[in-house]
Homo-oligomer: 530 residues x 2
């Protein structure tokens, strides 16, 4: 494609997205779903109990990447589940250690395209705020006033369940649900003798929530086996409106834990208050120096490498934000950061999120003492072309400019004779952002397949706000990397009471079935208005 | 005393204190302790095991003011203990409820003066940072590198123990230790047939650490019974150098819990970071807006009512700070707030201490989520003539100026459709500062008695940095209110691993014995250089 036709294509895309924005609610019911979806749904309705039983079994399995026994138990379970669907399976180990990836492959005679389906089978920690129930005892419940309400009985065999019910469990949406969808899609196709039209590879990562430390080595070690014409990442939520999305990129991420110090023992706040340095106040000033109240990052040099979004991307970002007002209302907010700027635009900017602060005690635990230290945790979200290693240096330089000596050894820091001048700073490695171009041929084909499955065209998002270690894939493979999220936007992933809306699981099953059968015939297209 | 003689007296006092400062270490060994102290010590050395046993029994009793069963159990125990020493005892109830005060009275035939000894028998909460051992299982241990070290065996009956050993227990120093000193002083005097020269009243408060809500009503209800010529408050630590102190005032205090809000459910920091308001960042900015990094309170109007310290007070405050450098070193600090200003001067200023902050999670508990709320806890320390009720209005006005609507109802605040604009603010009542004048006759007498007991003159501090509800006493009684602290400065009161140095308990026993026998003959004096 030459330059002018690419531009024309982009303009069509932008127009499509703008129209998609304005008329999405109307379109939602205006387009019939495809015969394939109808037949998958028909099979699914007769098998909901069996699907939920299989999901509950998987959701009940603890899956913290750092728990090597638990995580390998999940991997073994998944190998067996894919083998049952006629896949050739293997555990892929990284030469440098860590949890294995689950690999499964099902070849289609005569197929000329190979797709790779990605999800991760590890999950976030469950510590922190309390769960309403046990995170590894899946529970089917209604949502009432935005929180988990009455229990919903599992359907009898052959019966159906309210698609608005939720399955509450850690990783139900992030990403065990999409894995169940992959498995079930093949059950549905096989039951109806519908053959895939592509070779299908499944790649399930086991340490995404723990930072994907070994993923790059693992991909390089198994590069030949993992080649495909496109990678589809089944992770993250659909649009908050419930509309499907195709996502062309992800933000990068890098995290840091910072601890500041006061006196080496807790001091009575009366006898020493206003004299002994208070590290909680120091932490407040340090955080305030990094980010203003309106969300603007005020660290010198932080934005130097930010690649400005293209016009396509800005337009698409705004299109995604038509529902911002209703989302704000549902969250109890009258205003969001950056003077209420569109969410779709904000996620094309880097972010500084304070994940937590801890110092002393509050409420019934508050004692009249000056705390000895204050810790806070930050995750930075990165955009093209920010480099995590450079940002670490930029932030460390900011801490120095604020008067702190940056140390990385906890024992050395707390033993210093000038504790009040020390910042204990512990970075994770993080990873960079990746974006796939708007005009890759598979994108147009995928838009049509998604529209057929959902009965409405997808939004095409230039980037997901969240992070996936896509850079590992971009470093090793040339194939387009496309994220196809399926779970509900209000799934509370990474937080207490994570849940998966049952209807979103049904959609995901139909989507996988359609991708493996109806994508290949359309793949030759350039971008098409769906 | 006329005006010029009062001024002369003040100059002498200031000179005394300045000399006291410069030569205190030399004086420490230069002056023999009195014969009374020698005889009390002699008795005590033969009875250390029995004294420690009685102390351990008291220290093992939980004494949170809000635990009405536990606190009354302590009160009953103390009634019996004073009765055993020939005191007439009574539980004094407030007409408005709350824990009772323990009252004990021992009249001396022919005495013309009555002194009232104060301590509180309730203690701080033990929640929060972890204790090295159980807070209510008293343990005799060495201090090694500033922390609790090897266990020290209890002495056999008739043997002595290293006076540098510490008793670790909640309230060991604040204030159960001084109560044990009162009891034991009478044992020592009675054993040696030394009669007191004053009538002695003991008043032990039961809710000092819980804010003394019922104390004013209690004092008014029992006003006649509690009349005396001077009140001595046996609370707080001696000077950090180990030198004795006489303290003429206290700071007031008022506490507040503030909660700010973000979205009504935790949001993925990738998908919503930089868009959803982050209450941890908002809390950081709010704290930073109230107090600069150097300890200066930046709330408009906060200092309006501050009475400037007198020249006497400033001089005395500086005298107390000769050891600031060594204290800093012992705390791992190279610098303190207000550019290293003297501790003794700083405590004559109001303070804003952040007791704690809580939002989201840090370290292993950190999740990539935007927290839904952030809470912080502050205690303000007040000086004459600041009024806690007015300061609450001043601070609330500051919060409003920062853009927050101030609410006091937690349920209403979290249910608001503009959660990001709301500050949930919960004040305690607090109380004002009190200072007794330098030139009250009892002060000179007390200085001589203290010098005789310790073998060195006391520092006279215009105010304690900490807070005691002295205003309740000043409102009801005309008598001078004098604080006579006895416990070690590094006692970690209000914090984990509170401890009482055994030698400080021995000093306190001798001091009480001296106050009840040797104060009255000197009381006629005006201020005297000891």
């Amino acid at each position: 494609m030459n330059r002018s036709s690419r531009l024309a294509s982009r303009l069509v895309a932008a127009l499509t997205l703008t129209l998609g924005l304005d008329v999405a609610p109307a379109l939602a019911q205006s387009r019939p779903v495809s015969p394939l979806r109808q037949s998958v749904d028909s099979w699914r309705r007769a098998n909901e109990r069996q699907i939920l039983d299989e999901a509950f079994t998987l959701f009940a399995m603890p899956n913290l990447a750092n728990d090597s026994v638990a995580i390998r138990r999940v991997a073994s379970h998944l190998l067996a589940a894919f083998a049952k669907r006629g896949f050739t399976t293997a555990l892929l180990e990284s030469p440098t250690g860590g949890p294995p990836a689950v690999f499964a492959e099902r070849l289609t005679p005569g197929a000329t395209r190979t797709i790779v389906l990605y999800a991760h089978y590890d999950g976030q920690p469950v510590a922190g705020a309390p769960w309403d129930g046990d995170p590894f005892t899946p529970a089917l419940r209604r949502v009432q006033n935005g929180v988990a309400g009455d229990a919903v009985p599992l359907p009898a065999v052959g019966d159906t369940v309210d698609p608005n019910a939720r399955i509450y469990a850690r990783s139900a949406s992030d990403d065990k649900g999409p894995i169940v969808a992959m498995l079930t899609a093949f059950d549905a196709l096989d039951a109806q003798n519908r053959a895939p039209t592509v070779n299908v590879k499944v790649f399930l990562e086991g340490e995404e929530e723990a930072g994907s430390q070994h993923l790059g080595d693992l991909l390089r070690a198994h590069r030949d086996r993992l080649q495909g014409d496109a990678w589809f990442f089944m992770d993250g939520p659909v649009h908050v409106s419930g509309a499907p999305q195709v996502v062309l990129g992800v933000r990068g991420v890098v995290g840091v834990e910072v601890t500041l110090f006061g006196a080496s023992r807790p001091l009575h706040s009366g006898h020493y208050g206003n004299w002994a340095p208070n590290p909680a106040v120091a932490a407040a000033h340090l955080i305030a120096s990094m980010r203003d109240r309106n969300g603007r990052i005020t660290i010198a040099g932080f934005h130097d490498d930010v690649r400005a979004p293209t016009m396509d991307e800005v337009t698409a970002g705004r299109a995604l934000s038509a529902t911002d007002d209703s989302v704000r209302r549902s969250l109890g907010l009258s205003r969001t950061e950056a003077d209420g700027a569109a969410l779709g635009e904000r996620i094309m900017q880097p972010a500084l999120n304070v994940r937590g602060i801890r110092a002393g005690g509050v409420g019934p635990s508050a004692a009249n003492a000056v705390p000895t230290s204050a810790s806070f945790s930050i995750d930075f979200r990165l955009v093209p072309d920010q480099d995590p290693a450079r940002l670490q240096q930029v932030v460390n330089a900011h801490l120095r400019a604020q008067g702190y000596e940056v140390l990385t050894d906890a024992a050395a820091a707390s033993a210093r004779p000038d504790r009040e001048r020390v910042a204990l700073v512990q970075w994770d490695d993080g990873y960079r952002s990746v974006r796939t171009p708007f005009d890759a041929p598979v994108i147009g084909a995928l838009q049509r397949v998604v529209a057929d499955v959902y009965g409405r065209p997808p939004f095409v998002a230039p980037t997901l706000g969240g992070s996936l270690p896509l850079f590992h894939f971009a470093d090793v493979f040339d194939a387009p990397l496309v994220t196809v999220p399926t779970v509900n936007a209000d799934n509370s992933q990474h937080a207490p009471n994570e849940n998966l809306r049952v209807g979103n699981l049904w959609d995901a099953i139909a989507l996988v079935a359609a991708m493996v059968t109806e994508l290949a015939p359309r793949w030759v297209d350039t971008r098409v208005v769906p």
